[in-house]
Symmetry: C2
Subunit: 220 residues, 2 copies
């Protein structure tokens, strides 16, 4: 039973190791679930048919031979993989809903801020609005991350023990390493280091990096 995950065959250097198929790869590695990759050609326009699998043309999408289901959005895929194994999603009622609460917290209460920061620092770098916006965004994101640090303090993982919530939150936090937001909060830095020290994370990262070609294939 090998699930299939979509990824890219090349991305710019700043994105290498950060593309979101990293999340389901990590989840699969945690439970030893074999997966195969379907790599999209980064040099060609996205095939229109792919938008029927993934409405934004992004990765990852998942095909699971178990029931033959197809799905998209990495958060949804993490939840789906979590349903397969209690090492990813606790089975006791409170543990389950706590993990799912933090899963959504990563996707809806933290990542929108890291999206905006990445946009400012990468895609809109040098634009006037980005320069003017940065301080208030850093302040707002910092206040939220202070609350996150308070919630994490004294526990190893968000739902007590490791779960899909940590795969989501750690990959979200990792996207803004270097901004100071994580580095200035030792509880978060230690949490992130615990997460990326896991063998499954390292395996997932190495696997994503190994799948990139050295340069984009020429468009046909």
């Amino acid at each position: 039973m090998t699930v299939e995950i979509t990824g890219f065959d090349w991305v710019p250097d700043f994105a290498k190791g950060f593309v979101r198929d990293l999340r389901p790869r990590w989840a699969c590695a945690e439970i030893g679930l074999p997966y195969s990759m379907r790599l999209l050609n980064a040099a060609a326009p996205r095939p229109e048919a792919y938008f029927q699998e993934q409405p934004w043309g992004q990765v990852p999408a998942l095909v699971d031979p178990d029931h033959g289901v197809r799905m998209f959005e990495s958060g949804a895929i993490l939840l789906h993989l979590g349903e397969k194994d209690e090492r990813l999603l606790p089975r006791d009622p409170q543990g389950r809903v706590t993990a799912i609460s933090w899963l959504f917290a990563a996707y809806n209460s933290v990542e929108p801020l890291t999206f905006e920061l990445s946009n400012i620092e990468i895609f809109a770098a040098g634009e006037k609005w980005a320069e003017l916006r940065r301080p208030s965004l850093i302040e707002f994101a910092g206040q939220r991350l202070d609350r996150l640090a308070t919630a994490i303090e004294g526990r190893e993982w968000l739902a007590g023990r490791f779960s899909i919530a940590d795969i989501a939150m750690a990959t979200v936090l990792r996207n803004v390493e270097g901004s100071g937001l994580i580095e200035e909060r030792p509880v978060l830095m230690a949490y992130l280091e615990r997460a990326i020290d896991r063998p499954a994370f390292k395996a997932a990262l190495a696997a994503q990096l190994a799948d990139f070609k050295p340069a984009p294939a020429a468009a046909a």
Copy 2:
């Protein structure tokens, strides 16, 4: 079995009818699940104990006497309510994962853009960066909403039949009504109108509005 949802006893006019306890209220109304509200005093500082229930001090949080679980994040709460009734979350494997994919799409691929737009139009209104940022945000959000319109075209609801994905997506889209983003896309406007025409939406909206005091209570 009455679930308890947290809300506010007052909010500024622009937020009335848009506070996110609207989402679980709507879900409860769809399946006739009774709920009680625990209204937080908008005029007093948020009690520190509340941050243990809801790490950002926001609403909604949920207490469910079934298994005595507590949870937070409206997306997680919608999923939890969906597990109770197939009218909110299909039971067939593909229907389930399609609904959950779109649930995350609303929370992670569309709402981050509407958050940023609301920030520009309400909280940062008049600031230079907001004025400079608006055109590129409208363009990017518009491209994404074009894809959403393509995905919705020809079907009534995101997962075929109505589900928690529609509660999420419709409330997200409704937050940027008036920006032109929805009005310029007839497929999305018709989808949103179908959603808010549902008796359960109307009941949830009326219930939220009825819970606000005319003015904030004086702080003790």
